[in-house]
Symmetry: C2
DNA sequence: TACTTGTTCTATCTACACTAGAACAAGCAT
DNA sequence: ATGCTTGTTCTAGTGTAGATAGAACAAGTA
């Protein structure tokens, strides 16, 4: 299990980690029952603060993807999503339409977020 | 031309304004050559600071949607997009799929931008 | 018992959004 | 020409959130 964190992106560090774990689970790269690295360990390898990693872990727990236990770590409880491909296909369609309208990636992302909040 | 700004949303105030102008232009609600309200005026009616409105205007200018001239205001230079409906429909589909997978708006936007650059 | 690991707490630093006020420059109307 | 409108630029203050840091603590494991 390897994660990549890019501090230069607009997305926050803990959100990036959440996204990558979510994707790994959705794609089946992280199996049900599998254990994530300990927060301190992952923080060291990603050059992050422990609290940042724990924040991501707690968000994932609140969303029901993992289970957290002291002395035991973070265990994946979610099952891989069958329709993960649907999302990627839908995204491809958006990119196609946006390019046709000469919308920038940022503008399109903004429209997407707007659609989310309505 | 009426804009709605919601300070409780995660999206920043100036970004909300940018999005709404962009949508209005794409939908033809704001015609080519039409004039946007003066920054001081719009700020007053939206209960925003002038600088916040001007920041949005300058972003729109940098994207080529409007033209800014002192003493004259902000004039729309962009043409309405022909089939923006397809884009909005595609975006709705993405939002639906993303919500089903419990993807956050930010996570989905990140996926979108990745799809753009590939 | 010793070690691991998540939990909780306080504290600090930084970046960014937003607000605020002022002076200035370009264009318009009379 | 004069005065008004409007964007431009500048400095500065405030609030919030992300990230870092360190410590003590609790639950589970070996």
């Amino acid at each position: 299990m390897l994660f990549r964190i890019d501090p230069t992106l607009n997305e926050t560090l803990f959100a990036q980690l959440v996204t990558q774990v979510r994707l790994a689970v959705a794609q089946g790269a992280l199996q049900h029952g599998e254990r994530l690295p300990a927060a301190r360990e992952l923080a060291a390898s990603l050059d992050l603060n422990v609290h940042t990693v724990l924040r991501a872990y707690q968000l994932l727990r609140d969303d029901g993807l993992i289970e957290l236990r002291r002395g035991r770590g973070a265990i994946v409880t979610a099952r891989p999503a069958a329709d993960h491909a649907n999302l990627l296909a839908a995204i491809d369609e958006v990119v196609r339409e946006a390019r046709a309208l000469r919308f920038s990636p940022e503008a399109t992302a903004t429209l997407l977020k707007e659609a989310f909040s309505s």
